[in-house]
């Protein structure tokens, strides 16, 4: 009798794991595409299909990840990827065609720091290139290394329902407070550089970036969620 009961439990666990992985494969594929920025539009339907699979599995009574954890985890992966990839290109691939078209093109519309005098930055005799706006390179390097890459790892840990994933997501959400207080203040002080002679000064940047200015929104949930659902 006991073995039969465990057999049913094990089968339920196996089915749940399989259903979660099936949904995750679609969501991972969609997120990878959206994380590139350029291919984002192709990633969105794949992500939604995976999300649909997970919701269906939950309705069928299988033990899948809470929906809110799935949404926060994948959203953070996309946010971290877009920032890391975009800024890594500005740092290391600033003369590539894709960067000169997309980053400088984006700069011409929203942020003059990525358009005017683009690829003219030097440090002493050394050519650096990319955005030359005051302070920008400091933000790029420190946030890729100190915030967005750890945040990407934390989001993967959260999706795996690991305790360290939840804890590190909280840590990097609080980093987001420093990031957005400081970055926007820097933009305000150098508004003449960032907004002069571009297509949509001020409001264009804010509409575009409001999506990114959300890391703290999940703090009330992350601080009060039942910690027992995450494993050590």
């Amino acid at each position: 009798m006991a073995s039969t009961t465990f057999g049913v439990y094990d089968a339920h666990q196996d089915n749940s794991k399989q259903a979660q992985w099936r949904a995750d494969k679609w969501m991972i594929a969609g997120t990878l595409l959206m994380g590139t920025g350029v291919l984002g539009i192709f990633g969105l339907p794949l992500f939604f299909y995976g999300l649909h699979l997970q919701i269906q599995a939950g309705k069928a009574g299988l033990s899948v990840r809470p929906l809110i954890v799935t949404l926060i985890g994948y959203l953070v992966i996309i946010d971290s990827s877009l920032n890391s990839l975009g800024w890594a290109m500005d740092l290391f691939a600033n003369h590539s065609l894709i960067n000169r078209v997309l980053t400088a093109g984006w700069g011409a519309v929203f942020d003059g720091g990525y358009f005017w005098h683009y690829n003219e930055l030097t440090v002493g005799p050394y050519a650096v290139g990319g955005a030359g706006a005051p302070g920008e390179k400091g933000w790029e390097i420190s946030l890729i290394l100190g915030c967005f890459c750890p945040r990407l790892a934390a989001a993967i840990g959260l999706l795996q329902m690991k305790r360290w994933g939840q804890q590190w997501l909280i840590v990097t959400c609080w980093m987001g407070v420093i990031v957005w207080i400081g970055y926007n203040l820097n933009m305000t002080f150098y508004a003449d550089v960032r907004y002069a002679n571009i297509t949509f000064p001020v409001w264009g940047w804010w509409i575009y970036d409001i999506f990114y200015i959300t890391p703290f929104l999940s703090l009330p949930y992350l601080h009060t969620v039942n910690r027992e659902i995450f494993t050590d």
Partner: protein, 44 residues
């Protein structure tokens, strides 16, 4: 500590974090409005 006490603590914690966010977004809104003010003064 009973379960109720924990949830009461969590309730207050959540409230405090929401108040904190309202302050933070107010600050950001302030920066946005100040930038619009700069825009109105300049010839961008």
């Amino acid at each position: 500590m009973s379960k109720n006490e924990i949830s009461e603590q969590d309730r207050r914690r959540k409230k405090a974090l929401i108040v904190f966010q309202v302050l933070l977004y107010s600050y950001l809104l302030g920066l946005f409005l100040f930038q619009l003010h700069l825009y109105s003064l300049s010839d961008w």
